[in-house]
Amino acid sequence: MKYTLKVNGRPNDVDVDPATPLLFVLSDDLALRGPKFGCGLGQCGACTVISNGQAIRSCITPVSTVATADITTLEGLGTPEKPHPLQQAFIDEQAAQCGFCLSGVILTAKAFLDKNPRATEPQLQQALSGVLCRCYVNARMLKALNRYAKEVSR
């Protein structure tokens, strides 16, 4: 089945089985590095992308269901030279160790903060209660998110 997926603002032609999870299309067909295969079960968040403003788990999302969606991956937010302010906050706080979980943490928080710019810390924690970081950089990640949240609500 042929699709023209809109990823990070650009159209991409792919020809894949409609049941293929979006993650495999992004990471294999489109060679994107942001979304990662963590569990394949929608339990950890490593595969997170933003689809039409919602953080979704691309590992359990059939590509056919997002054929017309506007999809943003971690690399769609910013570049190493010009990171998104949220990514910059993570750089400033050095809020990563292995870095494998970052799509889950950053994109889940981004989608949440876009809708709830004045979220309290407990609300932010609640939003991240289904996201894992096994290096447990939690403390720095929350600092980075608070730093960013302060900037956007200013």
Binding site: K36, C39, P83, Q126, S129, L132
Partner: protein, 783 residues
């Protein structure tokens, strides 16, 4: 043929040269540079034959290009702990070059020295003291200064090396020469000089500073190349079919069950190893789940998890006596009071967030493996064994995976990829499923530990008696035992043999407390040596190792954490029994200034109130708060920590919330304070997850904790405690490790705080609400 990924090409190109030819010399790596284009193939990958400490030849460690770029080669890899940046700081500091001019190539068997495995927080002591990478950099600087002296026609004494330039301090301005002018593009051709002087930490300007991680920007913007992102031309995708139960064997594979599946290339069977290869990853996963395999179940059922801590005491065991003063039974008999307690620690898993992945390209008699293994050279050797190839024809290129915290699935999936690639003659990428990762990894060992002390009339410890049983099987494959992980075992290679030995021979070697089997409070006397950190002279440390049905292996703070949980919980029980303050009572039994210093630092920062536990005025209901302390000399002499935990215990639900962690940690001279802080914090929080929730589970035939619903870890969004880390810099000491120190004491510190808050003692990890409630109920029934 060996292919380079685009990133590898870029790394080589940016390293200041475009082609490295590897020539066979006198058993050593020889590096040459030409201006030719990047070679896509490495002819003649060389077996270096060095031991785990690397190479004695400077050219194996450091090369300086004509453009002044310094390229260093290390056998210690970064899997997220920040070691890559810290090693670049080391080179910049010791060689007196700007940080921006340093490149680092890590763990590639065709290029870097063989430094064995990156583990056990050994990289800092190994590469940052007076050997290996640090010595190479110091040797290079001194060599350059000598070359400059020769060029200037004077002595080396008046010369100053700074920013890659050597100047004569007493001469005219013209007497300056750059490193590139002295040696650019040429070999040093000198041996590492054990007398080369390292800079004193008090003179550091790059080391000792919080240089940001060089990989951070690429990570947070999704550009960083993990092993999961490696793509080589013509690459196919594999998936494995593991046995459904422990010990099951293949009776047959019905290939017709997958005939006609889209993209399927091949079904591969080798003894009990079953895998499929397809054109795309999703197709491979579909084929693996569709393939019908007839399995013959193992004849024996697994020992029930309920009762496992009793069961392992009955098994045949390999016994080890680390310390035995010979008077323990008599001293116990003569003691005014004898206290005893038993502690239990379950199997826990590494549980990497990314299922393990590797890419292998086996072409004829040569192979290349992109692997997240912590053991590049050992994995090269064992992969060669599995494939029936010569070691020198296998190249392992370390490429980072998800944080591993020890031996996760990285080694075994490297074998999977290599076997499948060999079967199809094309490059194959394999990514394990979550279940395959969790059901078959090498878990951290299960432990049951009996502790006993005798107290004298003043309440001091007169005798300490430790006896433990732990279950183990396999482990790191090392250089020759691929059967230590599941894939090697499935193709018919055995794990390291288990040889029961009872009773243990008397100890003869000085105490090596590498697994923290001995508590900090004993003298550790063996013959004339005394390697313990404490004062207790009547001492016995006896371990029984039994066979585990599951693979086990090093998990962050392996065995050190389990042992320390028992030692530090018990020390707290003893202090409570004699109504002594837990900090003061520890200090009284220690004879180790650095450990005592770490304890004092944590207690001071936590504003520790001196009094016995439990706290006065205990209530039986509602939320109770308390504080606890724990400490350890990690591995005996590889890092020192004291930790104060503060907790809230909901006595109605059994929920424990850690509200504050204060850590005093000493790893010698601090190479990167922010990197150290990140490790201290991450270890402390990971320790909470392991203490409160993590436990491998099984039924009578298989592992049942196979995903994040059945293996309970804390998420990013849990109510994290306030963490304060006091970093104790020791510029006059040697560098020791820091990555595994803080996690080692967390369970004990929390358990002690729960006791302080409630008077209930929990002796089994994890501290689930059910266990906490049971301990609270037991307290009521005895009150």
């Amino acid at each position: 043929m060996t292919r380079l990924t685009p990133d590898a090409r870029r790394a080589l190109a940016s390293a200041g040269f475009t082609r490295r030819a590897f020539l066979k010399g006198s058993g050593a790596l020889i590096v040459t540079f030409t201006s030719a284009a990047v070679a896509d193939r490495f002819s003649g990958v060389l077996a270096q034959g060095f031991n785990g400490s690397g190479s004695t030849q400077l050219d194996s460690w450091i090369a300086i290009g004509q453009d002044g770029i310094v390229t260093a080669y290390t056998g210690k890899c970064d899997f997220g702990q920040g070691l890559y940046t810290a090693q670049m700081q080391l080179i910049a500091e010791e060689l007196s070059v700007p940080f921006s001019r340093v490149r680092l190539i890590q763990c590639d068997t065709s290029m870097t020295p063989d430094q064995g495995t990156t583990s056990g927080q050994q990289s800092h002591p190994t590469n940052f003291n007076k050997t290996n990478l640090a010595l190479a950099a110091a040797t290079a600087r001194e060599t350059l200064v000598r070359l400059a002296a020769t060029r200037f026609g004077g002595s080396a004494s008046g010369l100053v090396a700074k920013d890659g330039v050597i100047t004569a301090s007493d001469g005219p301005q013209s007497r300056r020469v750059t490193y590139a002018e002295l040696i650019g593009g040429k070999k040093f051709e000198v041996q590492l000089d054990p007398k080369a002087a390292r800079k004193h930490p008090r003179e550091w300007t790059v080391l000792g500073t919080a240089v940001p991680r060089v990989d951070m920007r690429d990570m947070v913007t999704g550009r960083f190349e993990f092993v999961h992102n490696v793509r080589v031309p013509g690459m196919l995708h594999g998936a494995v079919v593991r046995p459904p139960t422990v010990g099951a064997t293949v009776a047959g594979v019905d290939e017709s069950s997958v005939r006609g599946l889209a993209g399927l290339v091949k079904v591969v069977l080798k003894q009990n190893f079953v895998g499929v290869v397809a054109e795309k990853p999703w197709q491979a996963m579909q084929a693996a789940s569709t393939l019908k395999v007839n399995w013959t179940a193992a004849s024996n059922a697994l020992a029930p998890q309920q009762g496992i801590y009793q069961q392992i005491r009955m098994e045949p065991s390999t016994d080890t006596l680390l310390v035995d003063s010979g008077d323990v039974d008599a001293t116990l008999k003569a003691s005014a009071t004898v206290l005893r307690a038993t502690y239990q620690h379950p199997y826990q898993m590494h549980g990497s967030i990314g299922s393990s992945c590797a890419v292998a390209d086996v072409q004829g008699d040569k192979a290349t493996v992109w692997s997240a293994t912590q053991s590049a050279y050992p994995t090269r050797n064992t992969t060669a064994m599995l494939l029936g190839l010569k070691q020198e024809n296998v190249r392992v290129i370390y490429t980072r995976g998800a944080g591993c915290y020890g031996i996760n699935g990285a080694d075994t999936v490297s074998y999977d990829a290599a076997l499948l690639s060999q079967a199809v003659g094309k490059p194959v990428r394999v990514q394990l499923s979550r279940k395959d990762e969790m059901a078959w990894e090498n878990y951290g060992n299960l432990f049951v530990i009996d502790q006993r002390v005798g107290l004298d009339g003043s309440g001091n410890i007169a005798v300490w008696d430790y006896e433990a049983w732990s279950a183990a099987r396999g482990g790191r494959p090392g250089y020759n035992t691929p059967g230590n992980v599941v894939t090697g075992s499935l193709v018919g290679l055995n794990p390291a043999p288990f040889n029961p030995r009872t009773p243990a021979p008397a100890p003869t070697n000085p105490l090596n407390n590498g697994s923290n089997t001995a508590p900090s409070y004993i003298t550790g006397r063996v013959r004339d040596s005394q390697n313990g950190a404490g004062t207790v002279r009547s001492e016995r440390v006896l371990s029984h190792r039994v066979r585990s049905p599951f693979f086990t292996g090093p998990l962050r703070a392996p065995e050190r954490l389990q042992n320390t949980f028992a030692h530090e919980s018990f020390m707290d029980e003893i202090a409570a029994h004699v109504k002594a303050d837990p900090v003061a009572y520890r200090l009284k039994h220690l004879n180790h200034p650095r450990l005592s210093g770490a304890i004092r630092a944590a207690a001071k920062a936590a504003n520790w109130q001196t009094r016995p536990s439990p706290r006065p005025g205990l209530r039986q209901t509602g939320v109770a708060s308390g504080r606890g302390i724990a400490c350890v000399c990690y591995e005996g002499d590889n890092g020192y920590v004291g930790m104060v935990a503060e907790v809230d215990v909901d006595q109605d639900t059994g929920q424990v919330r850690v509200t504050r962690l204060v850590v005093g940690q000493d790893c010698g001279p601090i190479s990167n304070p922010d990197g150290m802080r990140n490790q201290v914090e991450g270890g402390a929080l990971q320790g909470i997850s392991r203490a409160l929730g993590e436990e491998v589970t099984w039924d009578n035939e298989k592992i049942t904790s196979v995903d994040w619903r059945t293996y309970h870890v804390l998420p990013v969004g849990f109510a994290i405690p306030k963490i304060e880390a006091v970093l104790i810099n020791q510029p006059d000491e040697e560098a020791c490790g820091t990555g595994e120190t803080s996690i080692t004491v967390v369970a004990a510190a929390i358990g002690n705080a729960i006791f302080d808050a409630t008077g209930a003692r929990i002796r089994t990890v994890p501290f689930t609400p059910e266990r906490v409630k049971a301990a609270l109920a037991a307290r009521r029934s005895t009150a």
